[in-house]
Protein backbone atom coordinates (compact mmCIF):
# COMPACT_ATOMS: atom_id res chain seq x y z
CA UNK A 1 0.00 0.00 0.00
CA UNK A 2 1.33 3.46 -0.87
CA UNK A 3 1.30 6.08 1.82
CA UNK A 4 1.17 9.77 1.19
CA UNK A 5 4.54 11.08 2.46
CA UNK A 6 2.78 13.38 4.91
CA UNK A 7 0.98 10.38 6.38
CA UNK A 8 4.25 8.53 7.09
CA UNK A 9 5.35 9.10 10.70
CA UNK A 10 8.88 10.11 11.69
CA UNK A 11 11.08 13.04 10.80
CA UNK A 12 11.30 13.30 7.03
CA UNK A 13 14.72 12.68 5.51
CA UNK A 14 14.12 15.60 3.16
CA UNK A 15 11.74 18.51 3.46
CA UNK A 16 11.79 21.27 0.86
CA UNK A 17 9.57 24.31 1.20
CA UNK A 18 8.95 26.94 -1.47
CA UNK A 19 12.42 26.48 -3.00
CA UNK A 20 13.52 28.99 -5.62
CA UNK A 21 16.79 28.64 -7.54
CA UNK A 22 17.96 30.96 -10.29
CA UNK A 23 20.87 30.18 -12.60
CA UNK A 24 22.00 33.34 -14.38
CA UNK A 25 18.73 34.98 -15.42
CA UNK A 26 16.82 31.71 -15.60
CA UNK A 27 14.54 30.74 -12.73
CA UNK A 28 15.13 26.97 -12.70
CA UNK A 29 13.10 26.12 -9.61
CA UNK A 30 10.05 28.25 -8.84
CA UNK A 31 8.55 27.37 -5.49
CA UNK A 32 9.24 23.63 -5.16
CA UNK A 33 7.82 21.70 -2.21
CA UNK A 34 8.90 18.13 -1.58
CA UNK A 35 8.96 15.66 1.28
CA UNK A 36 10.79 12.35 1.54
CA UNK A 37 9.70 10.22 4.51
CA UNK A 38 12.13 7.85 6.23
CA UNK A 39 12.57 4.50 4.47
CA UNK A 40 10.72 5.45 1.28
CA UNK A 41 11.91 5.49 -2.32
CA UNK A 42 10.73 8.71 -3.89
CA UNK A 43 11.20 9.28 -7.61
CA UNK A 44 11.69 12.58 -9.34
CA UNK A 45 10.72 12.65 -13.00
CA UNK A 46 10.58 15.45 -15.54
CA UNK A 47 11.96 16.51 -18.92
CA UNK A 48 15.54 17.66 -19.53
CA UNK A 49 16.13 21.10 -18.05
CA UNK A 50 13.22 20.77 -15.61
CA UNK A 51 15.50 21.32 -12.60
CA UNK A 52 15.85 17.76 -11.27
CA UNK A 53 19.63 17.90 -10.96
CA UNK A 54 19.46 21.46 -9.61
CA UNK A 55 17.06 20.26 -6.91
CA UNK A 56 19.37 17.40 -5.88
CA UNK A 57 22.41 19.69 -5.91
CA UNK A 58 20.51 22.16 -3.72
CA UNK A 59 19.84 19.38 -1.21
CA UNK A 60 23.59 18.73 -1.01
CA UNK A 61 24.59 22.38 -0.66
CA UNK A 62 26.28 22.28 -4.07
CA UNK A 63 23.84 24.84 -5.48
CA UNK A 64 23.16 28.25 -3.96
CA UNK A 65 19.43 28.74 -3.45
CA UNK A 66 17.60 32.05 -3.99
CA UNK A 67 14.93 31.51 -1.34
CA UNK A 68 13.00 28.81 0.43
CA UNK A 69 13.95 26.25 3.02
CA UNK A 70 15.66 22.86 2.94
CA UNK A 71 15.65 20.59 5.97
CA UNK A 72 17.55 17.31 6.03
CA UNK A 73 16.55 15.00 8.91
CA UNK A 74 14.74 17.98 10.43
CA UNK A 75 17.84 20.20 10.47
CA UNK A 76 18.65 23.25 8.36
CA UNK A 77 22.41 22.67 8.53
CA UNK A 78 23.08 20.76 5.30
CA UNK A 79 26.79 20.34 6.06
CA UNK A 80 25.98 18.58 9.34
CA UNK A 81 23.69 16.18 7.47
CA UNK A 82 26.23 15.25 4.78
CA UNK A 83 27.71 12.27 6.69
CA UNK A 84 24.23 10.69 6.60
CA UNK A 85 23.88 11.08 2.83
CA UNK A 86 25.12 8.98 -0.08
CA UNK A 87 25.14 10.58 -3.53
CA UNK A 88 25.57 9.11 -6.99
CA UNK A 89 25.74 11.91 -9.57
CA UNK A 90 24.46 11.79 -13.13
CA UNK A 91 27.83 12.59 -14.64
CA UNK A 92 31.13 12.62 -12.92
CA UNK A 93 34.29 13.96 -14.51
CA UNK A 94 36.95 12.00 -12.75
CA UNK A 95 40.54 13.12 -13.17
CA UNK A 96 41.64 10.45 -15.64
CA UNK A 97 45.37 10.75 -14.89
CA UNK A 98 44.84 10.04 -11.18
CA UNK A 99 45.77 6.45 -10.39
CA UNK A 100 43.69 5.97 -7.22
CA UNK A 101 42.51 2.35 -7.19
CA UNK A 102 38.98 1.21 -6.36
CA UNK A 103 40.33 -0.45 -3.20
CA UNK A 104 41.94 2.83 -2.05
CA UNK A 105 38.86 4.84 -2.99
CA UNK A 106 36.49 2.58 -1.03
CA UNK A 107 38.91 2.30 1.90
CA UNK A 108 38.80 6.09 2.36
CA UNK A 109 35.09 5.93 3.09
CA UNK A 110 35.11 3.19 5.71
CA UNK A 111 36.04 4.13 9.27
CA UNK A 112 38.02 0.88 9.71
CA UNK A 113 40.19 1.45 6.65
CA UNK A 114 40.59 5.22 6.63
CA UNK A 115 44.34 4.81 7.23
CA UNK A 116 44.56 2.60 4.12
CA UNK A 117 48.01 3.89 3.20
CA UNK A 118 49.49 2.01 6.17
CA UNK A 119 47.37 -1.15 5.80
CA UNK A 120 48.05 -4.19 3.60
CA UNK A 121 45.65 -5.11 0.77
CA UNK A 122 44.66 -8.22 2.72
CA UNK A 123 43.76 -6.17 5.79
CA UNK A 124 41.76 -3.67 3.72
CA UNK A 125 39.94 -6.41 1.79
CA UNK A 126 38.99 -8.34 4.92
CA UNK A 127 37.65 -5.18 6.54
CA UNK A 128 35.67 -4.11 3.46
CA UNK A 129 34.42 -7.57 2.45
CA UNK A 130 31.23 -7.60 4.50
CA UNK A 131 30.13 -4.13 3.36
CA UNK A 132 30.76 -4.95 -0.30
CA UNK A 133 28.84 -8.24 -0.40
CA UNK A 134 26.37 -8.37 -3.25
CA UNK A 135 27.45 -5.07 -4.81
CA UNK A 136 29.55 -6.68 -7.55
CA UNK A 137 32.68 -4.62 -7.00
CA UNK A 138 35.07 -7.22 -5.51
CA UNK A 139 36.59 -7.98 -8.91
CA UNK A 140 37.29 -4.28 -9.52
CA UNK A 141 39.37 -3.54 -6.43
CA UNK A 142 42.71 -3.35 -8.27
CA UNK A 143 41.42 -1.15 -11.11
CA UNK A 144 41.98 2.64 -11.18
CA UNK A 145 38.66 4.37 -10.40
CA UNK A 146 39.03 6.82 -13.26
CA UNK A 147 39.33 4.02 -15.83
CA UNK A 148 36.12 2.11 -15.04
CA UNK A 149 33.24 1.75 -17.49
CA UNK A 150 29.97 3.60 -16.78
CA UNK A 151 28.25 0.60 -15.16
CA UNK A 152 31.29 -0.39 -13.11
CA UNK A 153 31.72 3.16 -11.86
CA UNK A 154 28.06 3.40 -10.80
CA UNK A 155 28.42 0.22 -8.74
CA UNK A 156 31.60 1.51 -7.13
CA UNK A 157 29.92 4.84 -6.34
CA UNK A 158 26.97 3.01 -4.76
CA UNK A 159 29.37 0.89 -2.70
CA UNK A 160 31.25 4.06 -1.70
CA UNK A 161 27.99 5.73 -0.64
CA UNK A 162 26.87 2.74 1.43
CA UNK A 163 30.12 2.29 3.36
CA UNK A 164 29.15 4.97 5.90
CA UNK A 165 25.67 3.42 6.32
CA UNK A 166 23.79 6.51 5.11
CA UNK A 167 20.16 7.24 5.95
CA UNK A 168 19.49 8.94 2.63
CA UNK A 169 20.64 8.04 -0.86
CA UNK A 170 20.40 10.61 -3.67
CA UNK A 171 20.65 9.07 -7.15
CA UNK A 172 20.72 11.40 -10.15
CA UNK A 173 19.96 9.36 -13.26
CA UNK A 174 22.45 6.80 -12.01
CA UNK A 175 22.22 4.62 -15.11
CA UNK A 176 23.06 7.35 -17.64
CA UNK A 177 25.73 5.77 -19.86
CA UNK A 178 24.93 2.23 -18.72
CA UNK A 179 23.61 -0.36 -21.18
CA UNK A 180 20.05 -1.74 -20.74
CA UNK A 181 20.91 -5.05 -19.00
CA UNK A 182 23.25 -3.12 -16.72
CA UNK A 183 20.46 -0.62 -16.05
CA UNK A 184 18.03 -3.36 -15.01
CA UNK A 185 20.44 -5.06 -12.65
CA UNK A 186 21.42 -1.69 -11.21
CA UNK A 187 17.82 -0.84 -10.31
CA UNK A 188 17.31 -4.30 -8.82
CA UNK A 189 20.38 -3.67 -6.70
CA UNK A 190 19.02 -0.29 -5.55
CA UNK A 191 15.68 -1.86 -4.60
CA UNK A 192 17.44 -4.58 -2.58
CA UNK A 193 19.66 -2.07 -0.83
CA UNK A 194 16.75 0.22 -0.03
CA UNK A 195 14.82 -2.58 1.64
CA UNK A 196 17.84 -4.13 3.37
CA UNK A 197 19.12 -0.88 4.87
CA UNK A 198 15.72 0.81 5.26
CA UNK A 199 17.08 3.80 3.36
CA UNK A 200 15.29 6.89 2.18
CA UNK A 201 16.04 7.22 -1.51
CA UNK A 202 15.49 10.10 -3.92
CA UNK A 203 15.86 8.80 -7.45
CA UNK A 204 15.94 10.93 -10.58
CA UNK A 205 15.16 8.70 -13.53
CA UNK A 206 13.87 8.62 -17.08
CA UNK A 207 13.11 4.91 -16.74
CA UNK A 208 9.40 5.10 -16.00
CA UNK A 209 8.92 1.35 -15.69
CA UNK A 210 11.49 1.31 -12.91
CA UNK A 211 9.82 4.30 -11.27
CA UNK A 212 6.49 2.50 -11.57
CA UNK A 213 7.88 -0.69 -9.99
CA UNK A 214 10.03 0.75 -7.22
CA UNK A 215 8.90 4.22 -6.16
CA UNK A 216 6.39 4.67 -3.37
CA UNK A 217 5.83 8.29 -4.34
CA UNK A 218 6.52 10.21 -7.52
CA UNK A 219 7.12 13.93 -8.01
CA UNK A 220 6.83 15.24 -11.57
CA UNK A 221 8.94 18.37 -11.87
CA UNK A 222 9.10 21.06 -14.50
CA UNK A 223 10.36 24.14 -12.67
CA UNK A 224 7.52 23.55 -10.24
CA UNK A 225 6.04 20.28 -8.99
CA UNK A 226 3.42 19.60 -11.69
CA UNK A 227 1.92 16.63 -9.90
CA UNK A 228 2.73 14.14 -7.19
CA UNK A 229 1.33 10.93 -5.86
CA UNK A 230 1.71 7.16 -5.93
CA UNK A 231 3.31 5.93 -9.16
CA UNK A 232 0.12 4.41 -10.56
CA UNK A 233 -1.69 7.72 -10.21
CA UNK A 234 1.02 10.10 -11.44
CA UNK A 235 2.16 7.98 -14.34
CA UNK A 236 -0.83 8.32 -16.57
CA UNK A 237 -0.92 10.18 -19.84
CA UNK A 238 -2.62 13.23 -18.36
CA UNK A 239 -0.06 13.82 -15.59
CA UNK A 240 2.89 13.08 -17.84
CA UNK A 241 1.55 15.54 -20.39
CA UNK A 242 1.50 18.18 -17.68
CA UNK A 243 5.11 17.49 -16.70
CA UNK A 244 6.66 16.77 -20.09
CA UNK A 245 4.53 18.96 -22.38
CA UNK A 246 2.08 18.01 -25.07
CA UNK A 247 4.14 15.57 -27.18
CA UNK A 248 4.28 12.74 -24.69
CA UNK A 249 3.61 9.09 -25.03
CA UNK A 250 5.07 5.93 -23.57
CA UNK A 251 6.47 3.08 -25.59
CA UNK A 252 7.62 -0.43 -24.88
CA UNK A 253 11.06 -1.86 -25.46
CA UNK A 254 11.23 -5.20 -27.25
CA UNK A 255 12.31 -6.92 -24.07
CA UNK A 256 8.84 -6.36 -22.82
CA UNK A 257 8.48 -4.23 -19.80
CA UNK A 258 10.40 -0.96 -19.98
CA UNK A 259 8.38 2.18 -20.50
CA UNK A 260 10.31 5.28 -21.44
CA UNK A 261 9.23 8.80 -22.07
CA UNK A 262 9.77 10.30 -25.47
Amino acid sequence: MHLHPIANPGTPAVEVRNLHVTLGNHAVLRGVNMRVPPGELVALIGPNGSGKTTLLRSLLGLQKISSGEIRLFGERDIRAALPRIGYVPQRINLESSFILSVREFLAMRSRETRSWFWQSHTQIDSRLRESLTGLGVESLLDRPVAQLSGGQLQRVLIAFSLLRQPDLLLLDEPTAGVDTPGEQSFYELIAQIQVRHHLSVVLVSHDLSMVYRQASWVYALNGVICCEGPADQVMNAESLKEAYGIHVSTYHHHHGHDDHVR
Binding site: S97, F98, M108, F117
Partner: protein, 272 residues
Protein backbone atom coordinates in the same frame (compact mmCIF):
# COMPACT_ATOMS: atom_id res chain seq x y z
CA UNK B 1 82.70 16.70 -0.90
CA UNK B 2 80.96 16.18 2.47
CA UNK B 3 83.66 18.19 4.25
CA UNK B 4 82.54 21.41 2.59
CA UNK B 5 79.91 23.22 4.74
CA UNK B 6 78.05 24.54 1.67
CA UNK B 7 77.79 20.99 0.31
CA UNK B 8 76.53 19.69 3.66
CA UNK B 9 73.81 22.34 3.55
CA UNK B 10 72.97 21.51 -0.06
CA UNK B 11 72.67 17.79 0.72
CA UNK B 12 70.50 18.45 3.76
CA UNK B 13 68.22 20.79 1.78
CA UNK B 14 67.93 18.17 -0.99
CA UNK B 15 67.24 15.45 1.59
CA UNK B 16 64.25 17.43 2.88
CA UNK B 17 62.99 19.14 -0.27
CA UNK B 18 63.37 16.49 -2.98
CA UNK B 19 61.06 13.89 -1.35
CA UNK B 20 58.64 16.63 -0.30
CA UNK B 21 58.36 18.02 -3.85
CA UNK B 22 58.00 14.48 -5.24
CA UNK B 23 55.19 13.75 -2.76
CA UNK B 24 53.33 16.99 -3.54
CA UNK B 25 54.07 16.41 -7.22
CA UNK B 26 51.85 13.30 -7.26
CA UNK B 27 48.90 15.63 -6.70
CA UNK B 28 50.34 18.48 -8.78
CA UNK B 29 50.54 16.24 -11.86
CA UNK B 30 47.14 14.62 -11.30
CA UNK B 31 45.53 18.04 -10.79
CA UNK B 32 47.36 19.50 -13.82
CA UNK B 33 49.00 22.19 -11.72
CA UNK B 34 52.49 22.13 -13.29
CA UNK B 35 51.92 25.54 -14.89
CA UNK B 36 50.75 26.86 -11.52
CA UNK B 37 54.06 25.90 -9.88
CA UNK B 38 55.86 27.56 -12.79
CA UNK B 39 53.87 30.73 -12.15
CA UNK B 40 54.68 30.91 -8.43
CA UNK B 41 58.35 30.09 -9.01
CA UNK B 42 58.68 32.87 -11.59
CA UNK B 43 56.88 35.25 -9.22
CA UNK B 44 59.83 34.68 -6.88
CA UNK B 45 61.93 36.90 -9.13
CA UNK B 46 59.69 39.84 -8.24
CA UNK B 47 60.07 38.88 -4.55
CA UNK B 48 63.88 38.75 -4.84
CA UNK B 49 63.98 42.17 -6.51
CA UNK B 50 61.59 43.64 -3.96
CA UNK B 51 63.69 42.15 -1.13
CA UNK B 52 66.91 43.75 -2.39
CA UNK B 53 65.13 47.04 -3.03
CA UNK B 54 63.83 47.04 0.54
CA UNK B 55 67.37 46.38 1.82
CA UNK B 56 67.11 42.65 2.76
CA UNK B 57 70.54 40.96 2.68
CA UNK B 58 68.86 37.56 2.19
CA UNK B 59 65.64 37.94 0.18
CA UNK B 60 64.14 34.54 1.16
CA UNK B 61 61.32 36.07 3.21
CA UNK B 62 60.08 38.61 0.60
CA UNK B 63 60.51 35.90 -2.06
CA UNK B 64 58.18 33.55 -0.14
CA UNK B 65 55.67 36.31 0.61
CA UNK B 66 55.42 37.53 -3.00
CA UNK B 67 55.07 33.98 -4.34
CA UNK B 68 52.31 33.20 -1.81
CA UNK B 69 50.57 36.44 -2.76
CA UNK B 70 50.67 35.49 -6.46
CA UNK B 71 49.44 31.95 -5.62
CA UNK B 72 46.44 33.31 -3.73
CA UNK B 73 45.86 35.87 -6.51
CA UNK B 74 45.60 33.04 -9.07
CA UNK B 75 42.88 31.32 -7.06
CA UNK B 76 41.07 34.53 -6.12
CA UNK B 77 40.92 35.65 -9.77
CA UNK B 78 39.82 32.16 -10.81
CA UNK B 79 36.94 32.28 -8.32
CA UNK B 80 35.93 35.89 -8.92
CA UNK B 81 36.39 36.50 -12.65
CA UNK B 82 35.38 34.80 -15.86
CA UNK B 83 39.03 34.46 -16.93
CA UNK B 84 40.44 31.02 -17.67
CA UNK B 85 43.05 29.78 -15.19
CA UNK B 86 45.73 29.50 -17.91
CA UNK B 87 45.16 33.12 -18.88
CA UNK B 88 45.41 34.29 -15.25
CA UNK B 89 48.63 32.35 -14.70
CA UNK B 90 50.25 33.57 -17.92
CA UNK B 91 49.37 37.14 -17.00
CA UNK B 92 50.78 36.91 -13.46
CA UNK B 93 53.87 34.95 -14.54
CA UNK B 94 54.93 37.40 -17.23
CA UNK B 95 53.99 40.41 -15.09
CA UNK B 96 56.04 39.32 -12.09
CA UNK B 97 59.07 38.33 -14.20
CA UNK B 98 58.98 41.69 -16.02
CA UNK B 99 58.68 43.55 -12.71
CA UNK B 100 61.53 41.54 -11.14
CA UNK B 101 63.95 41.98 -14.05
CA UNK B 102 63.31 45.72 -14.36
CA UNK B 103 63.81 46.26 -10.62
CA UNK B 104 66.95 44.08 -10.46
CA UNK B 105 68.41 45.84 -13.52
CA UNK B 106 67.73 49.23 -11.91
CA UNK B 107 69.43 48.19 -8.65
CA UNK B 108 73.18 48.69 -8.96
CA UNK B 109 75.28 45.55 -8.50
CA UNK B 110 72.32 43.15 -8.44
CA UNK B 111 72.13 42.21 -12.13
CA UNK B 112 74.19 39.05 -11.45
CA UNK B 113 71.53 37.85 -9.02
CA UNK B 114 69.12 37.22 -11.92
CA UNK B 115 71.21 34.30 -13.19
CA UNK B 116 71.70 32.81 -9.68
CA UNK B 117 67.96 32.70 -9.12
CA UNK B 118 67.09 31.58 -12.65
CA UNK B 119 69.39 28.55 -12.61
CA UNK B 120 69.94 27.81 -8.92
CA UNK B 121 73.06 27.97 -6.80
CA UNK B 122 73.98 25.64 -3.95
CA UNK B 123 76.09 28.43 -2.46
CA UNK B 124 72.86 30.38 -1.88
CA UNK B 125 71.63 27.80 0.63
CA UNK B 126 72.37 29.11 4.09
CA UNK B 127 71.56 27.64 7.51
CA UNK B 128 68.18 29.44 7.57
CA UNK B 129 67.13 27.75 4.29
CA UNK B 130 68.12 24.34 5.68
CA UNK B 131 66.09 24.93 8.84
CA UNK B 132 63.09 26.16 6.84
CA UNK B 133 63.36 23.09 4.57
CA UNK B 134 63.47 20.76 7.57
CA UNK B 135 60.42 22.39 9.19
CA UNK B 136 58.51 22.32 5.89
CA UNK B 137 59.45 18.67 5.34
CA UNK B 138 58.14 17.52 8.72
CA UNK B 139 55.03 19.75 8.85
CA UNK B 140 53.90 19.40 5.23
CA UNK B 141 55.01 15.78 4.89
CA UNK B 142 53.02 14.66 7.92
CA UNK B 143 50.14 17.02 7.01
CA UNK B 144 49.89 15.45 3.56
CA UNK B 145 49.44 11.99 5.09
CA UNK B 146 46.95 13.28 7.69
CA UNK B 147 44.85 14.87 4.93
CA UNK B 148 45.62 12.20 2.32
CA UNK B 149 41.98 11.11 1.95
CA UNK B 150 40.70 14.67 1.54
CA UNK B 151 43.47 15.55 -0.87
CA UNK B 152 42.84 12.40 -2.91
CA UNK B 153 39.10 13.03 -3.09
CA UNK B 154 39.45 16.66 -4.19
CA UNK B 155 41.94 15.48 -6.81
CA UNK B 156 39.49 12.86 -8.07
CA UNK B 157 36.35 15.04 -8.08
CA UNK B 158 35.69 18.19 -6.05
CA UNK B 159 31.90 18.00 -5.70
CA UNK B 160 32.07 14.43 -4.49
CA UNK B 161 34.68 15.53 -1.96
CA UNK B 162 32.26 18.23 -0.74
CA UNK B 163 29.49 15.67 -0.31
CA UNK B 164 31.91 13.56 1.74
CA UNK B 165 32.24 16.50 4.12
CA UNK B 166 35.72 17.58 2.97
CA UNK B 167 36.30 21.35 3.36
CA UNK B 168 37.21 21.62 -0.33
CA UNK B 169 37.95 25.36 -0.50
CA UNK B 170 40.10 25.41 2.64
CA UNK B 171 42.04 22.33 1.55
CA UNK B 172 42.59 23.76 -1.94
CA UNK B 173 44.03 26.98 -0.50
CA UNK B 174 46.15 25.05 2.03
CA UNK B 175 47.57 22.88 -0.77
CA UNK B 176 48.36 25.93 -2.89
CA UNK B 177 50.20 27.63 0.00
CA UNK B 178 52.31 24.60 1.00
CA UNK B 179 53.10 23.94 -2.65
CA UNK B 180 54.25 27.55 -3.01
CA UNK B 181 56.43 27.24 0.12
CA UNK B 182 58.01 24.05 -1.22
CA UNK B 183 58.63 25.65 -4.63
CA UNK B 184 60.15 28.84 -3.23
CA UNK B 185 62.59 26.95 -0.99
CA UNK B 186 63.52 24.44 -3.68
CA UNK B 187 64.25 27.10 -6.27
CA UNK B 188 67.50 27.95 -4.46
CA UNK B 189 68.67 24.46 -5.48
CA UNK B 190 67.18 24.16 -8.95
CA UNK B 191 66.50 27.71 -10.02
CA UNK B 192 63.26 29.39 -11.07
CA UNK B 193 63.26 27.84 -14.52
CA UNK B 194 63.90 24.25 -13.44
CA UNK B 195 62.15 23.93 -10.07
CA UNK B 196 58.92 22.54 -11.55
CA UNK B 197 60.86 19.53 -12.84
CA UNK B 198 61.18 18.07 -9.33
CA UNK B 199 57.38 18.32 -8.94
CA UNK B 200 56.68 16.68 -12.29
CA UNK B 201 59.40 14.21 -13.32
CA UNK B 202 59.61 11.87 -10.25
CA UNK B 203 55.79 11.48 -10.04
CA UNK B 204 55.62 10.94 -13.81
CA UNK B 205 58.35 8.28 -13.62
CA UNK B 206 56.54 6.64 -10.69
CA UNK B 207 53.18 6.79 -12.51
CA UNK B 208 54.37 4.58 -15.34
CA UNK B 209 55.42 1.84 -12.89
CA UNK B 210 52.46 2.05 -10.48
CA UNK B 211 49.08 0.35 -10.30
CA UNK B 212 47.70 2.40 -7.41
CA UNK B 213 48.20 5.66 -5.53
CA UNK B 214 50.25 4.16 -2.70
CA UNK B 215 52.79 2.71 -5.14
CA UNK B 216 53.01 6.02 -6.98
CA UNK B 217 53.62 7.99 -3.78
CA UNK B 218 56.31 5.61 -2.50
CA UNK B 219 58.11 5.37 -5.86
CA UNK B 220 57.87 9.11 -6.48
CA UNK B 221 59.52 9.88 -3.12
CA UNK B 222 62.30 7.36 -3.88
CA UNK B 223 62.91 8.78 -7.36
CA UNK B 224 62.92 12.33 -5.96
CA UNK B 225 65.52 11.39 -3.34
CA UNK B 226 67.78 9.68 -5.89
CA UNK B 227 67.48 12.62 -8.30
CA UNK B 228 68.06 15.26 -5.59
CA UNK B 229 70.94 13.65 -3.68
CA UNK B 230 72.47 11.97 -6.74
CA UNK B 231 72.16 15.16 -8.78
CA UNK B 232 73.98 17.29 -6.21
CA UNK B 233 76.75 14.73 -5.82
CA UNK B 234 77.15 14.52 -9.59
CA UNK B 235 77.12 18.29 -9.99
CA UNK B 236 79.98 18.55 -7.47
CA UNK B 237 82.00 15.83 -9.22
CA UNK B 238 81.42 17.30 -12.67
CA UNK B 239 81.75 20.91 -11.49
CA UNK B 240 78.39 21.76 -13.05
CA UNK B 241 75.45 23.83 -11.75
CA UNK B 242 73.25 21.72 -9.42
CA UNK B 243 69.83 22.51 -11.00
CA UNK B 244 70.44 21.18 -14.52
CA UNK B 245 72.24 18.08 -13.18
CA UNK B 246 69.33 17.23 -10.81
CA UNK B 247 66.89 17.63 -13.70
CA UNK B 248 68.93 15.44 -16.05
CA UNK B 249 69.31 12.78 -13.33
CA UNK B 250 65.54 12.67 -12.86
CA UNK B 251 65.04 12.48 -16.65
CA UNK B 252 67.33 9.45 -16.76
CA UNK B 253 65.17 7.85 -14.04
CA UNK B 254 62.05 8.74 -16.03
CA UNK B 255 63.44 7.16 -19.21
CA UNK B 256 64.39 4.05 -17.22
CA UNK B 257 60.91 3.77 -15.71
CA UNK B 258 59.23 4.11 -19.13
CA UNK B 259 61.52 1.39 -20.52
CA UNK B 260 60.86 -0.88 -17.51
CA UNK B 261 57.12 -0.31 -17.85
CA UNK B 262 57.12 -1.20 -21.58
CA UNK B 263 59.31 -4.21 -20.93
CA UNK B 264 57.06 -5.55 -18.17
CA UNK B 265 53.99 -5.16 -20.42
CA UNK B 266 55.59 -7.08 -23.27
CA UNK B 267 56.76 -9.92 -21.02
CA UNK B 268 53.40 -10.49 -19.30
CA UNK B 269 52.17 -13.89 -20.54
CA UNK B 270 48.87 -13.81 -22.40
CA UNK B 271 46.27 -15.84 -20.56
CA UNK B 272 44.50 -18.46 -22.64
Amino acid sequence: MFAEPFMQRAFLAALFLAPLCSLLGVFVTARRMAFFSDTVSHAALAGVALGFWLGFGNPTLPLILVSCLIAVAVYWLKENTELLTDTIMALLLSGSVAFGIILLTALKGKQGEIQRYLFGDVLAIGPSEVWLSAILFFVVGSGTFVFLNGLSLITLEQEMAHVCGIPVRALNYAFVIVLTLAVTLTLRLLGIILVTSLLVIPPAAARSLSRNLRQQIVLSICFGLVAGIGGIALSYQLDMPSGPVIVLTSIVLFAGSIAASKLSKTTVPVSP
